[in-house]
Amino acid sequence: MIPSQFDYHSPATLAEAVALLTRFGEGAKVLSGGQSLLPLLKLRLGTAEHLVDIGRIPGLEYIKEEGGFIKIGGRTRESALEQSELIKARAPILHDTARVIADPLVRNLATVGGNLAHGDPGNDHPATMLALDAQVVATGPKGERVIPIDQFFVGLFTTALQPGEILTEIRIPVPPPRSGGAYVKLERKVGDYATAAAAAQVQLGANGAFTKVGIALTNVGPTPVRCAKAQDFLVGKRPSDGYLAEAGKLAGEACSPSADRRGSVEYKREMSRVLTVRALQRAVERAEGR
């Protein structure tokens, strides 16, 4: 399959890339890892008049801890995230997530920024970033702006990014001691989008009770689904099987899946419930150092 015609641009700097995107407006798409965009163009589900490849711009691939945040460059490869010792130690939920995205060959090119900016509710990072209360840095003609993750996913394949803006960094507040998180995905086979998946990030206080809980779901709605009721229910309570089960139930009620080859609405809702409980169990184990 061959995509319809487009012009390819390979700017050497971020400023040049922003200028190109601003000039071409809606007709331009950012090419990062290309592992979602190129299949979409090949299948002609979408078109672009201009592709602006950010692959040759230096300084967009990094994972570092700085100023209370884990900072991930927008063009950081999924494979780099998967192998990062910093991520394994500080935010294992992100390691869980990276290693179930597509397959290892795709992860060698696919980028974290692309996974978010594509706005596909089937992608895995969005739910995890919601659970972690991440921030997204967009660089555009007016400079940088920071977008809280809760405002980032606007609709199906639609994000808060404006034409001319590039997702340049993801900032994750460093989880404090006695924190843990996990991402649990149900997929039919390696490389498939989730039938459903749950991300949970928890913090425990000195008395062992939840002080902060983030829960979000993948591919069971037009955008990733934050489960606010389940989160609020758990805060202040000590982890117990009964409470986690109730939180799972609330998460299952929060989602709005549609039926497809991966399952019926009822099945996906039920799986959302089960996966939320499993993600919470693992998150608590990690928070308790088990």
């Binding site: 390979s10 163009l41 299948l43 290892p104």
Partner: protein, 158 residues
């Protein structure tokens, strides 16, 4: 629409080409350079038959633009044999009957080579994870894993 003059090192030899923006790397290899060892299977980033090494990293060449490979190194299955001698992974596929129809084989070989370049003693699970983006529709995975294990042992002992 403008074309782009690119220079790509393929299996150690510099190649130049004038390519349209939308030309895929796999088409550059198969049609412009006539290196038809790299196969096109699903053409939708699933099967891995088109796997090549880009600067040493295995990628699906149906999902890379030729122009993205400008200035970079590409290794295809044709680049594995050296001086008439098979690469240990190729030898493993021969010895362990790692192929039936052979369609997935070039991709499996490239992924296997990349794995052994970074992990000299992979476990069976490491191998199975590494090839999880390469599909064998003959379902010959058992012998493919044995072939890569054979190659690992051979490479350790030489």
């Amino acid at each position: 629409m403008a074309t782009h003059r690119i220079e790509v090192t393929v299996n150690g030899a510099k190649q130049t080409a004038e390519v349209p923006s939308r030309l895929l790397l796999v088409h550059l290899l198969r049609e412009n350079l006539r290196l038809t060892g790299t196969h096109i299977g699903c053409d939708t980033t699933h099967c891995g038959a088109c796997t090549v090494l880009l600067d040493g990293t295995p990628v699906k060449s149906c999902t890379v633009l030729a122009v993205q490979a400008d200035g970079r190194d590409v290794t295809t299955v044709e680049g594995l044999e050296k001086d008439g001698k098979l690469h240990p992974v190729q030898e493993g596929f021969w010895e362990k009957h790692g192929l039936q129809c052979g369609y997935c084989t070039p991709g499996m070989l490239m992924t296997g080579c990349a794995l052994l370049a970074r992990n000299k003693s992979p476990t069976e699970l490491d191998i199975r994870e590494a090839i999880s983006g390469n599909l064998c529709r003959c379902t010959g995975y058992v012998n493919i894993v044995k072939a890569i294990e054979y190659a690992a042992e051979k490479m350790r002992s030489t």
